[in-house]
């Protein structure tokens, strides 16, 4: 029986620890959308939504929804004190202009050079859709990708060169998966943490490009230090 990898919620929990106090943050579709619930209590961050919200709060309670106040995933949300509304073009002044401290997106593939593919599976039916991910990827001061380490067929999603349509090149700073935390550096991929119970060598097996790591790679943190 294979060892248990982290759950999607645990990936989100680990990713939440990357948010510094006072940061302006955009969270994308998928695992990133789970992160807000795990922000440590002593940390205050401000969530941006590319449809024109800064200071977005939790989802609206059932019965209290305002369908004019939705996030980028059409989910009714709330606004925290100090939040503001603005137009979509101003929302993307914030993304593309480099004003967001950290953005966390889902991923289909990440290359060893930090290229990201996350908007379309080759050969998929339909028109596809880019949304805001390209603008967010190029503009983020720090871009974190959260995803499962391997695809459903077991093939690595961290690859030498992305074979899927690209979202942006040379944009990813850190990858957080169900097996590891990996930094993209000019010297290549650096294995910073491994999932509890896994060894660096095991993580390397599920990763196409070569990982650099020290002799003592710590286990992934799942609670605030």
């Amino acid at each position: 029986m294979p060892k248990a990898r982290l759950t999607r919620e645990q990936i989100a929990e680990r990713a939440a620890l990357e948010l510094p106090d006072g940061a302006y943050v955009n969270l994308g579709w998928g695992i990133p959308n789970l992160i807000a619930a795990y922000v440590p209590s002593q940390v205050t961050v401000y969530f941006h939504s590319e449809n024109g919200i800064l200071g977005m709060g939790p989802r609206a309670k059932p019965g209290e929804e305002d369908f004019d106040l939705v996030d980028a995933m059409k989910v009714p949300v709330t606004l925290l004190p100090g939040g503001s509304y603005f137009s979509q073009d101003d929302a993307h002044v914030m993304t593309r202009g480099g004003h967001l401290d950290i953005c966390i997106l889902g991923g289909l593939q990440v290359s060893e050079h930090g290229d990201l593919a996350n908007w379309r599976i080759p050969g998929a039916k339909g028109a596809g859709g880019i949304g805001g991910a390209m603008d967010i990827s190029v503009g983020a001061q720090k871009l974190i990708v959260t995803m499962e380490h391997t695809a459903k067929d077991g093939s690595p999603k961290i690859v030498k060169t992305c074979s899927y349509p690209l979202t942006a090149i040379d944009c990813v700073d850190t990858i957080i998966t169900d097996l590891a935390v990996i930094d993209v550096t000019p010297e290549g991929l650096v294995l910073r943490e491994v999932a509890p119970g896994f060894t660096p060598e095991e993580v390397q097996k599920f990763t196409e490009p070569k990982l650099r790591y020290s002799t003592n790679v710590p286990a992934m943190r799942l609670q605030p230090r």
Binding site: V70, Y85, Q88, R96, G131, M134, P165
Partner: protein, 226 residues
């Protein structure tokens, strides 16, 4: 006080003169701020062969869906047509609709450029991706950029919260989204609004779309969400 009366008596009257072949921008994102009354009136009016610029392409018959169902649309510029855009997706798969897929922020920025008299600009978005295909690339101060073109339209159909008789607009929460920028990028802007108030009743510090960008105003009916 306004000498050119901008307030129209009915929604149908507000779209009566839209010609076949027009290019129309539609505000709205994620279910909020779509000009659903104007869309439904345009379906009744029947203009065909339309080019549309919109983030989404409808959900079933809702939002823009009705215009696709009626086969009134020939060409689309969109960032995220959407999996729920049943009629669009069917016609796209059948090769009946031409689609230009644009990153969302660049969709905004190309419209803003048009409204601001800027014909083209360099952008970091999409460099090295299929979005860059066919576009001029240039290195500026050590970084790669592609050249994007301004995007205008004959008409903007928008949704606002309140208008005064002069055409000043304010919006409601995240229903603002694409509406203000489209108002600047179309030759002619038609706004459906929840309430029309007397000129001077809106706070001049809080007006989001000044009257200069609005040509026609009409009271929306109950259908806030299609």
């Amino acid at each position: 006080m306004t000498s050119k009366e901008k307030v129209y008596p009915t929604i149908d009257a507000a779209v009566a003169d839209i010609p076949d072949g027009a290019t129309i921008m539609f505000g709205g994102f994620g279910g909020a701020g779509f000009p659903n009354n104007l869309i439904q009136a345009l379906a009744r009016q029947g203009a065909r062969n339309l080019s549309v610029i919109s983030n989404n392409c409808g959900t079933g018959e809702g939002e823009l869906g009705l215009l696709f169902k009626n086969r009134q649309i020939r060409r689309v510029v969109a960032a995220f047509p959407g999996p729920g855009a049943k009629y669009f997706q069917e016609q796209f798969d059948a090769g009946e609709i031409e689609l230009e897929l644009v990153p969302q922020g660049i969709l905004c920025e190309r419209m803003r450029a048009f409204g601001a008299g800027i014909p083209a600009f360099f952008s970091p978005v999409g460099v090295g991706t299929e979005i860059a295909s066919g576009k001029e690339e240039r290195v500026i101060r050590g970084k790669r950029y592609i050249l994007e073109q301004a995007l205008g339209a004959d008409y903007a159909f928008i949704r606002a919260y309140r208008a005064d008789h002069m055409g000043n607009l304010i919006y409601h929460k995240a229903a603002r989204n694409f509406n203000p920028i489209m108002a600047t990028a179309a030759k002619f802007t038609i706004a459906e609004v929840e309430e029309i108030v007397g000129t001077g009743k809106l706070d001049p510090e809080a007006i989001i779309t000044p009257s200069i960008f609005v040509d026609r105003i009409v009271q929306a009916e109950g259908k806030r969400y299609a």
